[in-house]
Amino acid sequence: MIGRIATIAHNTFREAVRDRVLYNLIVFALLIVGASILFGQISLEINRIVLINLGLTAISLFGIVIAVLIGIGLVSKEIEKRTLYTVLAARPVHRWEFLAGKFLGLVMTLVVNALLMSIGFFAAVAYVSKGLHPADLQLAVAIYFILLQFVLITALALLFSTFSTPVFSSIFAFAIFAVGTFAEDLRGFASMAQGVTSWLMTGAAYLVPNFAALNVISQVAHDEAVDPRLILLNTLYVTVYAGAVLTASVWIFGRRNLK
């Protein structure tokens, strides 16, 4: 079972690499180097804040875009091109194993991509701050939260991919990411509303993935410490949420006729 999932994950990763997905690293590198040189002219304090904001936001957005654009085709593209027929029809592979392999393969791609970007990012921070300091460990926490965002958005894109077309899947995934980014505000509005509206808004606010809680970029840019309990809570939240989304994907895909 693990061998089959690992084989599918490895193939998904290899496909992304060979389709030149990692070329985004070049754009990221140019962005970071350009920003470091440009903001090097400004005072040290502001320079560092802007660089951290820009660098972490770029790592997050590049990853989200890749997660959605590849994620929405993880299953639908395989059905359209009929590449999954030879996997599911005549190999001892369960449909859930196929989904798990595709999911892990894309997450692996995103993690490798983000880690390579992080190396460049830390190098740029070290350059503008004249070296790295123990407080910069908070930046690693922010990157960890970004990776958790990738896990969530990949699970959602995979879910949509099991029943919808790539165009609709990408609309759904980006929309959910946008709404999830304002999940905290949505909860605030819900608490101010009354009656049925309050119930509906509260339900919607807790149903959408809380991407806001996974965004501590501004906080770490201002050298504010992240509460260790938040690391644990966010890890648990993403594990449970992504687990539920993947379970729904397995349920839908397991019943689907592959025409």
Binding site: R14, R82, T86, R91, P92, N257, L258, K259
Partner: protein, 347 residues
Amino acid sequence: MASFFAHREVRGIWSYLHGYESGPLCLGYNFQHEHMAAIEIQELEKYYQTGFFRNQRKLGLKSLTLTVEEGEVFGYLGPNGAGKTTTIKLLLGLVFPDGGTARILGRPLGDIEVKREIGFLPEQPYFYDHLTALELLQYYARLSGIGGRDVRQRSERALARVGMSEYARLQLRKFSKGMLQRVGIAQAIVHDPRLVILDEPMSGLDPIGRREVRDLIQELNEEGKTIFFSTHILSDAETLCDRVAVVDRGELKGVGVVADLLRDMSGDVEIAWRGPQAIAALSALGARCHATGEVVRARLPERLQDAALEALRERQCRLISVTPVRATLEDFFLQHVSAEAKAEVQA
């Protein structure tokens, strides 16, 4: 080639003696299951939901009952849209039945473990084109549970078998349709399955490619593998198959040993003679006459042969030859399928 025909003959006799199963046009006796069937299908049904609201039902397969014995080459024939691919997808768990059951190599539908013993070539195969042929084969070998050094060895052997060793390290995106078909066959046999299911294996191949695939199917069968293949190219089925089934519009129209199916067909004879004076008489008997100079040829049902010869004698025509015209699978097919399908085959 001679040994192949001998082999087919032996299989044909064997299957006739054991009396294969049942179907609308089943021939032979009721078969007592002394051997395990490779595929046993019982009243398998499939309907597809169509329309904007998915509220209309379209027949995919109607109550199909069929048995394929281990070790035989079984042809599954029908025009496009007849239900051939639906049957294969039902057997392999890609779509779910609305009724009926099936067993593959003694195991029920949905048993994932039996897939270690199945090889499958889909119609017009498309593979991960970022991989090389060797990488693709290794991928499938690993998924089939093969490990260690065997992965590479078996992959290389399968590629060699379909004549693709030379292109093992070329990415599949650079492959032609025919080359992809060969790689498709290689992936179907890389794990040495007992049952090989091929969906339109000859489609897209040139005559040489078709011949090679036919030879490969024979070789695999001689190794003891069961081959179940769908096709709408009837000459391939006639050459290769121990038995065939014909489906049209989701319904089984006939199943049996090819020779037996054709034996039931009313045979024709072709009579050639000199002298145009008998044309009208033979045409009146229902013969299709064609004159080339003084020589006239007429094709008519065998039962009318004596009457036709009598008519020639009465008119003092000089008889040249009387030749039985062997019925082909195409004749059987045309007699049992719908008008649309006939038009397609004749086109």
